[in-house]
């Protein structure tokens, strides 16, 4: 395998971590702090009660939450974040039915050079509306998104909503729904990953990660299908779609080649299948397809993992 890392790139997400419930608190399971040692130390020292801080709020409110500007907010690590240059965060709860399995938190810095978007969409009156999002320097695209809504089946949020499956869109600039394509193209956004975020109540949430070439959210995306409807009785997942800067397309035209398949405990995706929790791996390029780090996030449905999305940067 090609383990030579390309020249380091500035990434859109600077910190990724996940928290797991232990008793009535959320404790840190693992994180990738990208060298922000002081912030990591500050993080390791704390835990959250339900409703407390950003992860606790995502747990209590049972929904993904975008938080921009930590000063004066409920964010607990404001000082350390400020020192590390982190200004925004998104918390994504992982629910299995009513039970919280984990909260994934990503943190971003505010600077004019970083382009990308991480958005939370939710259903209102039969339409997907932007709940909130963090866009870095893509201000115009942010404005456009705030003024766009998606009926079922349309665009990335509407598509994910109606198909109940993660989706990966390419070449956003040339057609990620008509209203946003133009603006997305101008902002340099190339690849979009959309995923359903199931919560215990009826409200529908869709999370999108829109990646730009210069400051990518990820340079490799994968979508794995783990539903028994697709993989049978075995605890397993098949790679249904994916794109990689280095390996090119990761899907297979199944007239010819079977898709990649992993079983529980087989590699990082197998670890998600076995543990039911997200996985974050960094500092071991041979285990992360030659990239510096990877994140894999399970999405539950009918009491079991239905899909796993992973991104590598």
């Amino acid at each position: 395998m090609d383990t030579v890392l390309d020249a380091p790139v500035k990434t859109f997400l600077q910190v990724t971590e996940f928290w797991v419930p232990e008793g009535d608190r959320l404790v840190l399971a693992t994180g990738n702090y990208g060298g922000l040692a002081a912030f990591e130390d500050a993080t390791r020292a704390i835990s959250f009660a339900k409703g407390e801080g950003l992860p606790g709020k995502a747990w209590a409110e049972q929904r993904p939450i975008v938080l921009k500007g930590f000063d004066g907010s409920y964010f607990k690590r404001t000082e350390a974040a400020a020192e590390a240059g982190l200004t925004s965060a998104v918390a994504i709860p992982v629910f299995d039915g009513d039970a919280l399995r984990a909260v994934l938190v990503v943190l971003c810095g505010d600077d004019d050079a970083r382009i990308g978007a991480i958005e939370v969409w939710s259903e209102l009156d039969g339409l997907m509306m932007l709940d909130d999002g963090y866009y870095g320097a893509a201000k115009h695209f942010e404005w456009v998104s705030q003024h766009t809504h998606f009926p079922r089946g349309q665009g990335l949020p509407g598509g994910v909503w109606s198909a109940s499956t993660p989706m990966l869109f390419r070449e956003l600039g040339s057609g990620y729904r008509f209203i946003r394509a133009d603006s997305a193209g101008k902002a340099g956004l190339t690849t979009g990953l959309g995923l359903p975020i199931p919560v215990p109540h009826d409200r529908q949430f869709v999370l999108t990660l829109l990646s730009a070439r210069g400051t990518p959210i990820a340079r490799r995306f994968e979508i794995w299908d783990a539903r028994p409807e697709k993989v049978g009785h075995e605890t397993a997942a098949i790679l249904t779609d994916g794109i990689c800067e280095r390996d090119g397309p990761l899907w297979t035209d199944d007239n010819d080649t079977s898709p990649r398949r992993v079983t529980a405990n087989q590699g990082n995706i197998g670890k998600v299948l076995a543990s039911g929790l997200p996985v974050i791996v960094s500092g071991a390029p041979t285990l992360t397809e030659g990239y510096g780090s990877m994140v894999a996030l399970p999405i539950y449905q009918h009491g079991a993992i239905a899909h796993i999305v992973s991104w590598y940067v």
């Binding site: 990966l168 869109f169 390419r170 697709k230 035209d253 405990n265 076995a274």
Partner: protein
Amino acid sequence: MQKLVVIGAGMASGRLLEQLIEADATAYDITLFNAEPRGNYNRIMLSPVLSGEKSYTEIVTHDDDWYAANKVTTRFGEKVISVDTARKVVVGENGDVPYDKLVFGTGSSAFIIPLPGHDLPGVVAFRDLEDTSAMTEAAARPGAKAVVIGGGLLGLEAAAALRLRGMEVTVLHIASHLMERQLDPAAGYLLKKDLERRGINVILEAQTKEIIGNGRAEQVNLGDGTELPCDIVCMAVGIRPAVKLAQDSGIACGRAIKVDAQMRTQTPDVYAVGECVEYDGNLFGLVAPLYDQAKVLAKTLLGQDDSFVMRELSTKLKVTGCDLFSAGDFADGEGREDIVFRDPARGVYKRLVIENDRLIGAVMYGDTADGNWFFGLIKDGTDIADMRETLIFGPSYQGGAQADPLSAVAVLPPEAEICGCNGVCKGDIVKAIEGGAADLGAIRATTKASASCGTCTGLVEQVLSVTLGDDFVLPTAQPICGCCDLTHEDVRRLIKTKELKSQEAVWQELGWKTRNGCHSCRPAVNFYLLADWPLDYKDDPQSRFVNERNHANIQKDGTYSVMPRMWGGMTTPQELIAIAQAAEKYGATVKVTGGMRIDLLGIQKEDLPAIWHDLNQAGMVSGHAYTKGLRTVKTCVGKDWCRFGTQDSTGLGIKLEKKLWASWTPHKVKLGVSGCPRNCAEATCKDIGVICVDSGYQLSVAGAAGMDVKETERLVDLTTEDEVIEWTSAFVQLYRENAKYLDRAYKWVAKVGLDWVKETLADPATRKALVERFDISQSVYQHDPWAERAVPSEAVKFQPMADLTQEAAE
């Protein structure tokens, strides 16, 4: 070099070129014509490109570099004007190209219904990248509306894609359910619901009257008066083979270019492949048979034999989140039976069609996991009579979730020792993998794990699999039995590593699929536990075969044989008298065995404690003639009597037997001690053999004289009896601690290598530790099992628990 000209760069001709070049890159000088200004791309993936879920660059199968690298001359964007088969020349817009062999791969074009208005701008087919681009462009207009005519595979993929692009989409379909050629009405209904959930409007039994508009398509009118305003009309009702060029060139055509099973047309040196061919009256639209044709034609062109065979086809719809699979024939008919499964809550519908105990059709909606398995049954014509009742639940129907074979290794902490020989723990191996070691060889080179005796190879491979995922292909190992996916070696290693000290711990931690094992695995696990943890684990008689539980050999009539020990083959008149009396008293048949002992056959189970008691009284103990343990130590008379004898072989044999008796081992252990190299005690075909020589003792191991016959191999030469006893004990302990249950010593030594055994035992400290562990085990197990069972409280267990023969019948 012969000249090959191919007309049309589609999927079939692309596959043909690949196969041809791979088989023999020098066979042909190839020229490829294509009317489209580009090379080959994966046409069946156009719908995800239309939806934005794939990009065009991702579906290109051959780019300019590929053609250049394979020396294919490309004439793209150039139309072929004519073919002169007499002169063997292809006439292109930019000049002639002579050929030795010519292949038509002209494919098909969309079928356009000749409705009024069908030729207006804005009416497109869905066949190529140009159509796709036209639709993408139309979708870019705010509020754009599309009408898709045709509710087949292609039309529905287009509709879903256009919807994702943001359009308002209406599908018009002439039949009463969608995809009527691939789906039955029930699946068609579910599909319609699914599409409607995506905001796609579906009109069935639609009679399209006309397309109207001012200079471009603006509205579709239906026969019932419905008016559908639109910005674009996509006509996806079918394809027709593109054969005009072939017809004009005088190639025999029916509905398409006629070919035989070798893909030859009726014109010499002219071939055809793909959607433009007609074979045996059939046309082809799906990709699988096109690939088959390409393979056959490549062989034909290389002068090899192959024939195209029609096969069953399966269909999937490329709409993300829409799981649909259909294969075979599912029309109702005489003698056909259906098996239907529905789960309304999950939106699952499955239908199998059976005729004459063969599966002939399958339709699935919402759950397609077993699609390929059913498809295989259809293709192979498998007799499904035996599995009819559970057929619809698929191949993995077992009524429960499957255990995960990697879980035991996955949960091991980093400090868990994997390789006992070299003291390598899991964390070391994972670090090596992270450092780039990607296979067993690299792990051995960097960590030494599994580089010595090799019994931990399976575990190392599992660590590789757990860490690397599917990049490491796990070799299939023989599992211990149906109860567990791990091998014997893995189970042994994990019992040590995870310090599992009870059967329950083994069942739980190693993922046993049964409640408490079976007759195959439980005796093995019982042995492993008692061998590794003699002080913590107690031997479980209920996990032993009847012989070991009853300490006597069951015979085929249900009676038992009883054989007292005769140390080194020595006995006394008193012992012989006791044996004779017992034989008479219990009606035994008497036989002298090959192992220098006397066997009493035909003893009833109830009598066993009594005969043991009698033999005990005369000072005799169990000969363990029934165990996976020490059997006999065969000796010759040695230097006290024999004129050739060099040492006291009988005396040494007795000492060895007294040391080793009553020890449990993976399989039986037989020893021989010969007083000189003439080898009267046949020591060189035993598990352990000692040959006495003038200078001392030659210790050899791993012989066999059963189904396999094998001479022992020299382990070491020693000078004193004490050394022989020490080395022998150490060897037995090493065997006990490492071998697979039911592997005789010679099999085990063959697996781990005699060199490793020698090296391990040569270290005095290791040898001493082995002997100490052997002695600890013997302190627990070296007792006469007969004496323990001849006492009244135990003897009663050999009787029936109740005798109801005297009970009154009423």
